[in-house]
């Protein structure tokens, strides 16, 4: 078990955002977290990576309790969060962005190797290595955000809606790359609106509804649940 969240409660001020959430990710797995707008998906990721502190419950990463640790310490333990909206550093070049990925955790040599790996996986980034990240297209920025997370060679990567704002073709491309990253041994917790795409690469999934886990299971099973179909896969109930 690389990550396990146990009975976590998270508040924004005094508004309850997550209620008794439990989930886990096993080593080498891709797990998807889906849910409607405002369900609390990003909040789950923020609590894991330490941007928010849970008020109750435990979060174990590699067996260690990380709930309440500051974000930068958690990142240094090998947990990379690619936030919603990507968070690339717009006024740094592509190369500098990638360098920053290994800033806190890796030696110069490892960073250089990591960047080469990212370039072989995303040749488009290599072509644009001296370009300012802010001038990249949305898809390229997403590649960069994932690449930057890769450079730190995390054990677990949290991805927040990598498909947001991308054309279907590009979504396919990005998801292929996520699978590729996963094959390199990185476990992935993937937040998605696009449940269809997410289920195509995830082994298991959790469904979040208003801050609470409503369902979870293998994606193969969830795909056939009428509730999931209607709400997240765009299948009309009773139709077809």
């Amino acid at each position: 078990m690389i990550l396990s969240i146990e009975n976590v409660y998270v508040y924004y001020g005094n508004m309850l955002a997550l209620r008794d959430v439990s989930l886990h990710v096993k080593r080498g797995e891709i797990v998807s977290l889906i849910g409607a707008n405002g369900a609390g998906k990003s909040t789950v990721l923020r609590s894991i990576s330490g941007i928010l502190a849970p008020r109750a419950g435990r979060i174990l990463f590699n067996g260690e309790d990380i709930s309440g640790l500051p974000a930068h310490k958690i990142a240094r333990m090998g947990l990379s969060h690619v936030p919603e909206g990507r968070g690339v550093f717009a006024n740094l070049t592509v190369f500098e962005n990638l360098e920053m990925g290994g800033y806190a955790r890796r030696s110069d040599l490892e960073v250089r190797e990591g960047i080469e790996e990212v370039f072989s996986l995303f040749p488009r980034l290599k072509e644009r290595r001296s370009q300012m990240a802010g001038t990249l297209s949305g898809g390229e920025q997403q590649m960069l955000a994932i690449g930057r997370a890769m450079v730190s060679r995390p054990d677990l990567m949290l991805l927040d809606e990598p498909s947001m704002g991308l054309s279907p073709l590009l979504v396919g491309e990005i998801f292929d790359m996520i699978e590729e990253v996963n094959r390199g041994g990185v476990a992935i917790l993937l937040v998605e609106q696009n449940a269809f795409a997410a289920f195509s690469i995830a082994q298991r999934a959790y469904v979040l509804e208003t801050g609470h886990v409503a369902m979870h299971g293998d994606t193969n099973e969830l795909r056939n649940q009428p509730g999931v179909q209607a709400a997240y896969l765009g299948v009309v109930p009773g139709g077809g």
Binding site: I51, H72, A75, V82, V88, L92, E96, M100, G101, A104
Partner: protein
């Protein structure tokens, strides 16, 4: 090896510049009026480089830069005057004391307010600047030597051309090496996206505090030079408007652009002088109409600052790249 020869070359150039400047001044080759404008430009550059680290690179909006400039000035002046000496070694110690004091106060101010977002920092530093102005005005109540609202007089004129050039040179090298290092890129990443910076393992608070302290320390350094240029200090040199001056210079020169800060600092000092000479007596206040107009025009024409993202060669590469 290359680095060592580079460093030696830079040091030699700097020494040569300082000596040449000093000789030109000492033998009266240059009009003392222009010498003083040049020195003011150098001093302004040092202070503005500090604010560029704080605001331009790290993205921390500070409206209290002149207060730290003042702390450095008064500290250095106090050390010099109370010891009564006029040696260069003592002056070095006085400058160091000014830097240390500004940096220490910056640390104490930064510890609580840097946890807030940048807008609050603006308000907090504004308030701090106003408090410091009041303290400078009434400093004679505690230490009569500081002069309070009457001003502090009788300081030694230690800030020679050589000192000015040498200190500016060192400050420029120091700032360049910081911002062109991975440490500097960490500061920029905080400015760009603080959450993302934390998510890649940067202890953002610590870095923000360090950036703030370094920038304020540079203001203190500039203040120490300023105090011993005219040998006279007055609290009005460190009020809110002086903080705005530096802010304007940094924005005009371009946030995160060192060459721009250098050019804008000298440009600003020159502009004030030109207006002082050109405006008919009694119309001095027109300055505060002309300058804002000029600012607006410049910002419309060059919203990214004077040089955009280009840098002169000196500022381009640091030690580790």
């Amino acid at each position: 090896m290359r680095k060592i020869t580079d460093m030696a070359k830079t040091a030699a150039c700097l020494a040569a510049a300082a000596v040449t400047g000093q000789l030109l001044d000492s033998f009266g080759f240059v009009n003392p009026y222009w010498v003083q404008i040049f020195q003011l430009g150098c001093i302004m550059t040092i202070s503005a480089l500090g604010l560029n680290i704080i605001y331009g690179f790290t993205g921390l909006f500070s409206l209290g830069h002149a207060a730290f400039y003042g702390i450095g000035a008064y500290t250095a002046a106090y050390v010099m005057k109370s010891s009564g000496g006029e040696s260069h070694l003592l002056f070095l110690a006085a400058l160091a004391a000014g830097v240390a004091c500004s940096a220490l106060v910056a640390c104490l101010v930064g510890l609580p307010v840097l946890r807030l977002t940048s807008d609050y920092l603006g308000i907090a530093t504004l308030g701090f600047g106003i408090i410091m102005k009041v303290l400078f005005d009434n400093a004679d109540g505690v230490l009569p030597i500081l002069g309070g609202a009457r001003g502090m007089t009788g300081l030694a004129k230690m800030t020679t051309v050589a000192w000015t050039i040498a200190v500016l040179g060192i400050a420029m090298i120091f700032v360049r090496n910081i911002v062109r290092s991975s440490y500097g890129r960490a500061l920029v990443s905080i400015r760009e996206d603080e959450i993302a910076a934390r998510a890649i393992g940067i202890a953002t608070f610590r870095y923000k505090l360090a950036g703030f302290v370094i920038g304020c320390g540079l203001a203190g350094l500039a203040g120490g030079l300023y105090a011993h240029l005219y040998a006279f200090l007055h609290p009005s040199n460190f009020d809110f408007f002086k903080s705005v001056d530096v802010l304007v210079i940094v924005v005009l020169g371009g946030l995160g652009n060192l060459s721009g800060t250098l050019a804008a600092s000298f440009g600003w000092i020159l502009l004030l002088e030109v207006l002082r000479v050109a405006l008919p007596p009694g119309y001095m206040e027109l300055r505060w109409v002309l300058i804002p107009v000029l600012l607006i025009v410049t910002m419309l024409l060059r919203p990214q600052g004077l040089f955009g993202s280009r840098e002169i060669r000196f500022f381009r590469d640091g030690l580790d790249s």
